[in-house]
């Protein structure tokens, strides 16, 4: 496995982690993912 492969794998893990964290946050508070930001009526409800 080359250094470049390692870097790419780290980027992938970070991207997946970001997606999961976002999903968890969605269920608890904040962003529902619709892109409306902090005042989204969906997250606010």
């Amino acid at each position: 496995m080359s250094v470049q492969d390692v870097i790419v794998t780290i980027v992938l893990i970070a991207a997946v982690a970001y997606a999961i964290i976002r999903r968890v946050r969605r269920n608890g508070r904040g962003d529902c993912g619709c892109g409306c930001g902090k005042n989204c009526p969906n997250c606010r409800s």
């Binding site: 992938l12 997946v16 993912g33 892109g35 930001g37 969906n42 606010r44 409800s45």
Partner: protein, 830 residues
């Protein structure tokens, strides 16, 4: 005579309102009370609904609803005999003074009628950019924000507009409950100064609640222009409310407003006090009820016993049950109801609710008689009326509406094409730069083929999205959207849709999520559910990039028309599904629909620019977030694992080409290109995503799709923009200057173009209909509640507990429908 019989241009005086329940309550609260003059303005196209003018504002009523209002000719003896109860106010005492600890946090709730400018004022005060529009029902839920002013921290909560705080619609209940739970220090009652009489009705209810209030006389510039005069200081002293004139769109008067709020918060304004509206014959009953309530229980500290008594008189018993803290609340309610019924029998009052409403309007009339002088109205039509003569014309109204929508799509494509090309050039240049700066390898491929290609593929459509939103925002802010609902109402009604469904459906063209939330304004839960189920068929702006991409590549001459047809297809399918669901799933009632028609207004440049900025920011944030993540994942899945055999064959083929002699450099390049394409295709098919794609390919092949299109549709489940970013990654070519459009156009299989008009239209159709994004499904889950909450037909009713069921139902029906319609499109056009 019935109001529906009143001919256009004539006026009459209201005698009584028949009917029952929410509709009756709503229109009497909107001013259709005994003695008020109403004028018939015009019929909508298809002869229904009818526009009426009452108390200086315009309202749309369907013919069958207008039939419930009994009127008398303005000059008749009957009209002259219609008396209104006398007006009087009693002092309810000063508010209790409080010592506020440091830091001083002032909790302010914005309450007012729909479309009186609450959110515009809130945006100006808080520096936010909440969605606004010149029609009722734009604000959904409560927005909160805080800021510091002087030594005070202001905590503002912006509530949805409401005509009253009875419990007849979800937003009314929401506002009332929020006022009780949030317990604001000061209620900021925003009123439309150009329509005081109607707006003050809500104020009378807030007075009954015993709220400490400041009134923002909003749109005061329009009021001054009309030539009317108001002694607002005197009015404030009379009804115990501090007053401040404001212009929310320009921020005029906002400092003075904040100073007034501070004065009231600190108890420094001596005129701000509790007043009691005199309920005439019912006053003795109210006093007896208060005694009984005080003896039996403690109303919560923020709830006045007098207000509880009035709620019992208005038959709002659920409110009492929910909010009065008492050992045996049901026994108390029974006793209060018995007292009320006895008092009614002993009095000459025919209907208690109407009597209370009449007295509130008498209170308003009395207060305004002493402080408000209307200017003489000119017989000339206002600009708004002249515009309405065109836009709501009986013959031309509907064609003009379709023309406006067509122009919107034509401009979205045609004007958007220029900035789109510039961004495309920038993305190509950036891609070249990165490609030439980095050594060969997975990192460079990730950046160029994954991130830049995926995000760049979506970024290029930003101008189109902004132009679409500019049009929608212009229609909303000018007041045309309410006219669109007016002229389309009869058609919607015939198709089985509730009149109030129109606004959420139109909002769905922007984003389905707030549209689902906007169904809260629909009182009947079955009608609400029905609207929610068809909203995903309204093509949201996230799907626009897919259409622009394919229209640009395959229908450059007729892009606007194709775009328009796709949206119309969504609407037609929504109507068909609505009728189907109505017959099979829901027993919906035909509910009345009352809608205010606001004056036309010219949107301010500031609001328009802020809206555009907000949309651009959201789009870019989404691009830097979920779209980038999806691009990385799709690229990774399409890059790994590597097949040694394919790599070897590729190296061998290139070596072979280099050994050969070609007549020209072009021939050499063509040979290399064909090897590159074959290698890329083989590597992708060997990769993880290729294998996944192969699994779903049999299902989508009948629609004319290949596995790459299938994978992009699956990826688009998270957010629809990802469909394009995935296509950009999967159809990326080695030519860094080639745009996604040209890559797709030139995609070849066995030497022939893969994409045809048939499979392109089939793909656009599938994207329009299938699987709403995850955010929409979450919104449906939150709003729909439980399956068995709704009155379904007995055959279909079953006990299902998961709140996700409705979301899953939407997933199922949209995906099946998408497959069937796309199959038809493909096979007919093939």
């Amino acid at each position: 005579m019935k109001l529906s019989d009143l001919s256009t241009g004539r006026s009459a005086v209201i005698v009584s309102v028949a009917g029952a329940g929410a509709f009756r309550k709503r229109i009497i609260e909107m001013g259709f009370v005994r003695g008020k003059t109403v004028t018939a303005i015009r019929n909508a196209p298809l002869n229904d609904p009818i526009e009426y003018k009452i108390m200086d504002y315009f309202v749309s009523l369907r013919r069958e609803e207008a039939h419930l209002v009994e009127v008398a000719d303005a000059d008749s003896d009957e009209a002259k005999k219609l008396s209104r109860p006398a007006f009087s106010i009693a002092d309810g005492g000063a508010f209790a003074t409080q010592e506020h600890p440091e830091p001083k946090i002032v909790k302010v709730a914005l309450v007012g009628n729909p479309n009186c400018g609450k959110t515009t004022l809130y945006n100006y005060l808080c520096g936010t950019n909440e969605h606004t529009g010149n029609y009722s029902g734009v604000t959904i839920g409560a927005a909160t924000n805080s800021f510091t002013y002087g030594n005070y921290i202001f905590e503002f909560v912006d509530l949805p507009g409401t005509y009253s705080i009875s419990a007849y619609s979800p937003e009314e209940t929401f506002v009332r409950n929020k006022l009780l739970t949030y317990d604001p220090d000061v209620v900021l009652n925003v009123v439309d100064s150009t329509n005081l009489a109607r707006n003050l009705y809500l104020t009378t209810q807030l007075i009954d609640m015993g709220e400490r209030m400041v009134m923002a006389l909003n749109m005061y510039d329009d009021f001054e222009k009309s030539g009317d005069q108001l002694d607002f200081d005197q009015l404030g002293k009379m009804i115990g409310i501090a007053m401040a004139p404001t212009v929310g769109s320009k921020g005029t008067g906002t400092k003075a407003l904040l100073d007034k709020i501070i004065q009231v918060y600190e108890g420094e304004d001596i005129f701000v006090r509790r007043v009691h509206i005199n309920y005439g014959e019912l006053e003795m009953l109210i006093v007896n009820m208060i005694n009984l309530i005080d003896k039996n229980c403690h109303a919560s500290p923020i709830l006045l016993s007098r207000f509880v008594a009035i709620k019992v008189i208005e038959n709002d018993l659920d409110f009492v049950r929910e909010n009065v803290k008492c050992a045996d609340v049901d026994a108390l309610i029974n006793e209060l109801v018995a007292m009320r019924d006895h008092a009614k029998e002993m009095s000459s009052i025919a209907d208690l609710e109407t009597y209370v409403t009449d007295l509130r309007y008498s209170f308003i009339d009395g207060a305004l008689n002493e402080t408000y002088k209307p200017a003489k109205r000119s017989s000339k039509q206002t600009l708004s009326q002249r515009l309405d003569n065109i836009f709501t014309h009986r013959v031309w109204g509907i064609p003009i509406f379709f023309l406006v929508i067509w122009i919107m799509f034509e401009c979205t494509f045609k004007i958007g094409q220029y900035p789109m090309d510039w961004i495309d050039m920038f993305v190509s240049w950036f891609s070249d730069l990165v490609s030439s700066s980095l050594p060969d390898g997975p990192v460079r491929d990730l950046l160029v083929d994954g991130i830049i290609s995926g995000c760049g593929g979506v970024l290029v459509f930003l101008p189109n999205i902004l132009i679409l939103f500019l049009f929608i925002s212009f229609m909303e802010d000018t007041g045309y959207m309410a006219r669109a609902a007016f002229i389309m109402d009869k058609m919607m009604h015939k198709m089985g849709l509730h009149g109030k469904s129109f606004i959420p459906l139109i909002m769905g063209f922007g984003c389905n999520v707030p549209a689902i939330m906007a169904t809260r304004t629909i009182e009947d839960r079955n009608n609400r559910m029905l609207t929610m189920l068809i909203i995903p068929l309204m093509s949201c702006s996230a799907r626009l990039p897919v259409y622009i991409l394919f229209c640009g590549a395959f229908f450059p001459e007729n892009a606007g028309n194709v775009l328009f047809s796709i949206y119309i297809l969504g609407i037609v399918l929504a109507i068909i599904m609505c009728r189907l669901f109505k017959r099979t799933l829901f027993n919906t009632q035909d509910l009345p629909f009352v809608m205010e028609l606001p004056q036309y207004r010219m949107p301010t440049l500031r609001t328009t620019l802020l809206n555009m900025w907000s949309k651009a920011k959201q789009y870019l944030q989404k691009m830097g977030g979920i779209i980038m993540v999806a691009s990385i994942i799709v690229w990774f899945l399409g890059y790994y694992p590597k097949s040694e055999e394919i790599e070897k064959n590729y190296a061998y083929a290139i070596e072979n080409i280099e050994r050969q002699t070609f007549a020209s450099a072009e021939e050499h390049d063509a040979a290399v290109d064909s090897v590159e394409i074959a290698y890329r295709s083989a590597a992708q098919e060997y990769s993880l995503i290729g294998r996944m794609g192969r699994v779903i390919e049999p299902v989508i092949r009948p629609l004319g799709f290949d596995w790459k299109m299938g994978v992009s549709l699956v990826a688009g489940v998270a957010a629809k923009e990802i469909v394009v970013s995935t296509l950009a990654v999967l159809y990326h070519s080695d030519d860094e200057d080639a745009s996604l459009m040209s890559n797709i156009y030139n995609e070849k299989r066995n030497g022939e173009r893969f994409f045809t008009k048939a499979n392109v239209l089939s793909f656009m159709t599938f994207t329009l209909i299938y699987f709403p994004c995850l955010a929409t499904l979450t919104a449906i889950k939150n709003e729909a509640g439980h399956w068995n909450d709704f009155h379904m037909s007995k055959r279909r009713r079953r006990k299902v507990h998961s709140p996700w069921r409705w979301s899953l139902f939407v997933v199922g029906y949209t995906t099946v429908l998408a497959w069937v319609v796309s199959w038809l499109v493909y096979n007919i056009l093939k």
